[in-house]
């Protein structure tokens, strides 16, 4: 299992009830992390969208997180 550090903002932080969590997944693939988060925190499924970033870039579900990369949860943005 791979352990990934995850940082959350906005409503994602409220759902996790914390700013950072560690997430275990078989290979560190974003799709696995997404699945695990939804399993542990079903409220994520109620969001309009849930995107992932690695460092400062959006990544797709098939991205595999490299060791020491930080994953950022991006719930629906609402700037402006």
């Amino acid at each position: 299992m791979i352990t990934t550090e995850i940082i959350a903002f906005g409503i994602a932080k409220d759902i996790l009830k914390q700013k950072k969590i560690l997430c275990q997944s078989p290979s560190g693939k974003i799709s696995e992390i997404r699945q695990k988060l939804i399993a542990d925190y079903p409220e994520f499924e109620r969001l309009s969208s849930l995107k992932f970033a690695v460092e400062t870039r959006y990544v797709s579900d098939d991205y595999v997180v490299k060791s020491r990369e930080i994953v950022v949860l991006i719930p629906p943005v609402s700037g402006g």
């Binding site: 903002f9 906005g10 409503i11 629906p76 609402s78 700037g79 402006g80």
Partner: protein, 138 residues
Amino acid sequence: MDAVALHTTALPTTAIEAFVSTPTSGGIVIFVGTVRNQTRNKAVQHLFFEAYQPMALSEMKKIVEAAKTQWPLHKIAIHHRLGNVAIGEAAVVIACSSAHRQAAFEACAYAINTLKETVPIWKKEFFEDGEVWVAAHP
């Protein structure tokens, strides 16, 4: 002044306009997004903006670059407010200058539309009876 920035105090609208104005510019278009006192007919007391700052700046820079590629702009600036923002205050200021006005109009609309889709900034509305992260739920 930087072309993109996040501010925890009032946005420097006049300085942003001066920043984009050049001697060859014929038109400057400025969009100011202000905090409304109501949403869905409910009174808003104030707003709070949170950002994933390094990525927000990076996405704002991407908008600047994409706009410069698509339109013959002289300058473009995107400034966003963070933290608590009172009713009537500016949450975002976008300014574009070009020799002819159509490019500035189109680029300014593009920039605010794209910002609202891609830049990791989150707005929380505070009501008398609670608070809500805007756009979080369908």
